[in-house]
Symmetry: C2
Subunit: 334 residues, 2 copies
């Protein structure tokens, strides 16, 4: 099969100008009915699919959603991306993915003004990023998934990170732990902040103090969880439990525990956050706070479609529960 | 900031028709010089970024590459996707991602004719898929990365899967293994085929027979590697080494070994294929054949850019070496 016919080829076949073909394609009333009929017959014979660009110019719709994301190699983000693709596709929408780790904000600024997409999904909103401000200012329908921004006038669907973290803290205290490690991220987004503050609140409510030396602030990678565990567990009197704010860090903590010969859960309990598929693998068998990824994405895409259909509807923030999934990295299953 | 100005707003500001604004934006010579100057001044005052769609209509370029991929939640595919995003971005190109697990071929057929992109990257070519045939027939510049199709007239960049698998087999034989398990995928692509055949060739060359009962054919998920290991290692006389064709299956095999109480490497050696970042984690410490992901992507994107610039240049197939990365899942490090 050759390259599909262009409007130039079709014009030649119909014996009209390219401009006339364009007018037919855009339903311009200036074309006389006989000419229109002839052009349409040629289009039909050629099995012509109108160029998406031409169609988008005409309808103002691209049926494409732009997704901004970071760190697709993190297991949770890969699952989130997969789920976004699945849900968009099931509603007949395509996805343009921008990895904002690689595409800096200047590029994003250009993208926002190009209107290649009908709407935006932002999964990595941070307080100090201009991305959500720029997205909203561009007038493009936008939804924040997974990460939200407090009080922002924008549709948002997030997990109840604070309550999930609180429940994890309460679970440790209820099972007698008083010397507890907290491996936390610098708070650039609401997820890491609430996963930290909720956990601290549970301990405070139970009258359990966290020693300052038990709090380790780290970066995102597995290696950082590993180093934090080595630091906490090499002490003369190490903590009896460690909670952290992502599964990826928890996997690093489990590996760090292995590296210093600490047994999980005999010597130390470990709890992560995300409940990725990998958390259930024997290698980790990780107790983790569950992010309801499917529900977050489905609810969010639904809100975005409503916003595209009606740009003036009031914004909504939906918060979904994050229950604790208990596994072998904490010894007590009740 | 409000929604950016449309061509309608600009036409009103310049006191001309929308059609005239369009003619100025597309450098149509029919606009008289004074009108053109007035419109350009209005555009400048409004700080107007021409709509990407309009620009694409004019230049025929979208600066966007369409990527077709499956299984972004598999660790290797996530790394591959991340690398493709990084390399495209570093050359000023955007990425549209289609997950062909979710977007069936009918959708792909439509996409191919829409010309939303300047080129395609296919990472999951299989013999029985029509995708590469459709991509080439559409006349859109296309490169196959990671998975290739023998003898196809298309730019392709692949790892030397056969030789990498051969080296893994030779390494096991050289270290005295004669009772060896092979956990293999149904061959729908050149990767799983060559990773199977190369391994068998090494054993055959060394005069080592693979017992039919030591060959287990599985699907892609971790759970399938897990089940295969349980099957092989629950025998009265289990194999002393297991080789498999992806890291994800190898992680499943390590977890299956744990589940039946087999120690790695004391009771059984395990080798995977991909050398993902996770292979280096203590949980796995997996000996694995390295896929040169960065070099595959960089070489492939470079070929694609050359093809976009010169559609008639001869096609190239580049095959890159896949050396064995030796770790603790095989006891002998020399």
């Amino acid at each position: 099969m050759a390259r599909p016919p262009t409007s130039r080829d079709l014009a030649r076949l119909a014996g009209v100008s390219q401009a006339t073909v364009s007018r037919v394609l855009t339903n311009n009333p200036k074309v006389n009915p006989e000419t229109r009929a002839r052009v349409l017959q040629v289009l039909k014979d050629a099995n012509y699919t109108p160029n998406a660009l031409a169609r988008a110019m005409k309808t103002g719709r691209t049926d494409t959603i732009g997704v901004f994301m970071t760190r697709v190699t993190s297991p949770f983000h890969a699952e989130l991306l997969d789920e976004i693709g699945r849900v968009l596709s099931s509603t007949g929408l395509h996805m343009i993915l921008w990895n904002i780790e690689h595409d800096p904000e200047e590029t994003v600024a250009e993208v926002l003004h190009q209107r290649l997409v009908d709407g935006f999904v932002l999964t990595s909103a941070t307080y100090d990023s201009k991305l959500h401000t720029m997205a909203l200012a561009s007038g493009t329908p936008t939804v924040l998934l997974h990460r939200g921004i407090d009080e922002l006038e924008c549709d948002q669907v997030v997990g109840d990170n604070w309550q999930g973290a609180y429940d994890a803290g309460k679970y440790l205290v209820d099972h007698g732990h008083t010397d507890i490690g907290l491996v936390t991220l610098v708070h650039t987004g609401n997820t890491s902040r609430d996963r930290d503050l909720g956990f601290r609140a549970a301990l405070a409510d139970a009258g359990v103090k966290i020693k300052p030396s038990n709090v380790v602030s780290v970066g995102v990678p597995h290696a950082d969880g590993h180093a934090a565990a080595e630091k906490l567990l090499s002490r003369k009197k190490p903590p009896t439990a460690i909670y952290t704010v992502t599964d990826l860090l928890a996997f690093g903590i489990l590996d760090g525990a292995r590296a210093v010969g600490a047994r999980v859960p005999d010597d130390v309990w470990v709890i992560g956050f995300d409940n990725t598929e990998m958390a259930a693998w024997e290698s980790f068998d990780l107790t983790s706070v569950d992010q309801p990824t499917h529900a977050i994405v489905e609810t969010g895409v639904n809100l975005l479609r409503q916003r595209i259909a009606d740009p003036d509807r009031p914004t909504e923030t939906v918060t979904l529960p994050c229950p604790l999934a208990i596994r072998g990295s904490t010894a007590n299953r009740h």
